[in-house]
């Protein structure tokens, strides 16, 4: 768009700020929300790479029907840690990171409401993640019962070994959960109380609405998982019998508590992605976001409905008929607000003036693939169909169309979109596009084959399979390796551009939103003068491309 390298965007001789040069601050206990945001994003990206390596080992095992790459306990540990890392140490904390960076800027605040708490929330994560990974070094390895950790199988641990993989897994996830709850308190307080003058709820960008909705879900639902895991830890280590069926405990109660959080967790992951689409699509379509209010309210709608859908993960868990029917209807209702969002994105693009830069490619690619993830989600809510494909690769395919093809694509869109704001430099467009096409092709090659595999009855979490499933598995594995390769141009681009990228200027995309009105990177207190907001967001019809009044107007008024 505006970062044609033949034309400098800003003066290259502009002196670098102290903030920009001082990389040590990213290793410090900073209370600046922007530093914490970057800390989150970089740390989670490292975990994403680790989770991705585990995924490629899994795909290497599944390229042939026989079990011949890793032995079965190791395979079980690989998929357990892959799922755990990608959910609890990549997507959810990455969203916390990008929200940390953007929310105060987008609402015109100087920082988060509780900066110290914010720093503590972050610094709980690295030791928790390292603790989780350290279980690979235990004599009997990591947890092996999947990221659901269903009892009683999660209680089957090596005898005489109190510190085992499952124990470490529970402690890590409880710590990560505590961090997320502290973060959620901070986000909700910040969005309610720290908005700039004139920033009414219906002048907030949809990204902020999405972050608010996601963090409300964290507050309401996450304690259920934390509670369940503490009870599981008691069963594992202290001889209690909450979930042991042979001792009159009930493992199904664990499933209720687990999914009460872990289904909304999908929306905790997806809502910020939807918010990213709402920021990127209008900027590159040069149109106001179509149906802004509907899309804003739909974020809350998704959050509310998603609290009441958890049993659709348990249709086959000895669940009575009435409960199956009730949760079939509530699960399907999520399609209404998500449908509103998808229609809004499409209408924003319709009759627009499209600029297909890398963030736009990732956003459109992610939005398009969300349709397949969403449609298969409605299919799964239909009980009779779910009874066939439950726990098959159909679910794995559907889930990855959401968590990778939609959310991770949105995360890449966000990184490219706000990279100039965060670093003050532009990324290399050619490398960005190469990254997009490798990712888009790789992601579809990897995850589409899982849908027909599931329909044919290939069960998830198996390390060997019947030869008739091999064809689709080979395609999925090759796609997985391509996805692994696709990350290389991204890393090269980010590192190279950070060191040598062209200076970006304050608003390279001519985007609306308060974050684009301050310097790149923003100063410690975000704005020289707190802005007064007088117009709705996404004002792409305005030649100023800005929703704030100029500072001189603001000063004259006060």
């Amino acid at each position: 768009m505006t970062h044609d390298f033949s034309e400098p965007l800003a003066e290259d001789i502009e002196p670098e700020t102290e903030l920009e040069n001082n990389w040590r601050q990213y290793l410090s206990f900073s209370t600046d929300h922007k530093v914490i945001g970057v800390q989150y994003m970089v740390m989670t990206f490292i975990f994403f790479l680790i989770g991705g390596l585990l995924a490629m080992l899994i795909r290497a095992e599944l390229i042939t029907p026989a079990s011949n790459v890793v032995d079965r306990p190791l395979y079980n540990g690989l998929f357990t840690l892959h799922g755990t890392i990608m959910i609890f140490l990549w997507i959810i904390p990455f969203n916390a990171g990008i929200s940390n960076y953007l929310v105060p800027l987008m609402i015109g605040a100087r920082d988060m409401a509780f900066p110290l708490l914010n720093a503590i929330s972050f610094w709980i994560l690295p030791p928790s993640g390292i603790l989780l990974l350290s279980s690979f070094l235990l004599p009997n390895g990591t947890a092996q019962s999947g990221w659901w950790s269903y009892p009683p199988i999660s209680l089957q641990v090596p005898p005489g070994q109190p510190i085992n993989g499952e124990f470490i897994w529970i402690v890590s996830i409880v710590l990560i959960g505590i961090s997320s709850i502290m973060g959620a308190v901070n986000f909700v307080t910040t969005i309610f109380w720290m908005r700039a003058p004139g920033m009414t709820f219906f002048r907030m960008p949809v990204f902020v609405w999405s972050a608010l909705s996601a963090q409300l879900l964290q507050l309401i639902n996450l304690p259920a998982l934390t509670g369940a895991l503490i009870l599981l830890l008691f069963d594992l280590s202290f001889g209690t019998q909450f979930f042991k069926p042979t001792e009159n405990g009930d493992p199904i109660i664990y499933q209720h508590l687990f999914w009460f959080y872990s289904h909304p967790a999908v929306y905790i992951m997806a809502l910020p992605a939807f918010g990213i689409f709402a920021e990127v699509l209008p900027a590159f379509a040069r149109n106001p976001l179509f149906g802004y209010r509907s899309l804003a309210v739909a974020s809350l709608g998704i959050a509310v409905v998603s609290i009441f859908v958890w049993v659709h993960h348990m249709f086959t868990s000895a669940t009575p008929g009435w409960m199956r029917m009730l949760f079939m209807v509530t699960s399907m209702l999520v399609a209404v607000p998500t449908g509103v969002k998808a229609f809004g994105w499409t209408a924003t693009i319709w009759k627009s003036k499209l600029h297909l830069e890398t963030p736009m490619l990732f956003a459109m690619g992610g939005a398009a693939m969300f349709l397949l993830g969403g449609v298969t989600g409605v299919m799964l809510a239909a009980v009779p169909f779910d009874l066939h494909v439950h726990n098959t690769y159909f679910i794995v395919g559907h889930f990855h169309y959401i968590v990778f093809n939609t959310i991770t694509m949105a995360i890449f869109a966000a990184i490219y979109f706000w990279f100039p704001k965060i670093t003050g430099r532009m990324y290399a467009e050619g490398w960005g596009k190469l990254h997009f096409w490798l990712t888009f092709i790789g992601a579809n090659l990897t995850f589409f084959p899982m849908l027909p595999l599931g329909l044919q009855g290939m069960v998830r979490r198996i390390s060997s399979y019947e030869p008739r499933y091999q064809g689709w598995n080979v395609i999925a594995s090759l796609g997985g390796f391509l996805l692994g390769v696709s990350i290389l141009p991204f890393i090269a681009n980010m590192v190279g551009s950070l060191l040598h990228g062209q200076r970006a200027g304050n608003n390279p995309w001519l985007a609306t939103g308060l974050e684009w009105t301050t310097t790149s990177p923003p100063p410690r207190d975000n704005f020289e003068v707190i802005p007064v907001v007088r117009r709705p967001p996404y004002d792409y019809g305005d030649p100023k491309y800005s929703v704030i009044e100029p500072p001189d107007y603001h000063q004259a008024e006060h």
Binding site: N68, D71, Y150, M379, F385, L387
Partner: protein
Amino acid sequence: MLRFLEYLLIAGCIAVLLVVSHWIGHLAYFWMPPEATEEAQKVDSLFSFLTSIGAFIILGLVGMMVYSVIFFRAAKNDYSEGHPSRGDFKLEILWTATPTILVLWIAWQGLNIYQQLDVLGLRQIVHLHTPLEEPAYAAASDDKPKPAAETVEVFVKQWDWTFRYPNNVTSHELHLPVNLRTRLNMHAQDVLHSFYVPEFRLQQYIVPGRNIDLVVTPIRTGEYKLKDALFSGTYFALMDANVRVESLEQYNQWLSTAEHEPNTIKNQAVAEYTQPPKTLFKSNWYTVAPAQEAIANERKVMNDT
């Protein structure tokens, strides 16, 4: 006039989309395994219906995106806006009401077919062992056993399926008479397992401490694979058993011969536990030892079923 032509074009596109979606919905039948039960036919018709609707939505919206990418590209350095419209109240009402009606329609179809499956016997019946709770469950409508011509007891344990037939024959293969309602009375001994035969289109968790009934009516003779669909530990991938649907005469004949012949099917988990295969990476992490004997025999001795 132009506006009229535009509407006509849109109507034409929708008509084409409807035809294509219907065709894709029809193709969906071929993506499924063979239909071996009456239940499978119902599930496939629901899947076809869902695929048609899904294809219409995906093709419609992705089509609009692709059309936009081709025809709405901005000229270089043109940052003016495309259309100034911030919203259209009527349109937003329409696209909120449409998915609402659509999901209610899908839910109605799901409910309808689920009830038909119930008539056919696809419904679990849970009995708790706990004496205090048993009367309450016994009174629940779900707890009335479905009428079935035959009952087979299913015992599942890490990593072994065992089946006990009316004449006390035990086997590691599930034999079912065709066109006859058979009740599977299922018991798990250690962890959660899940009964799943893809050609039957049904799946049901088996929870230790609960007796779970499932009534199936196979309609197609042949050999199928029973799988454990819920992760059950180290040798989970080996946790399957043969299912043979056969005529009543063949079934009765097998029952009488099995009574006199020992069951010799090799347990793959036990074989692998005693002689692990070569793999590139070896962890040697802890695993539960797989069941060595048929559970049904143990349970007969314990008399706890």
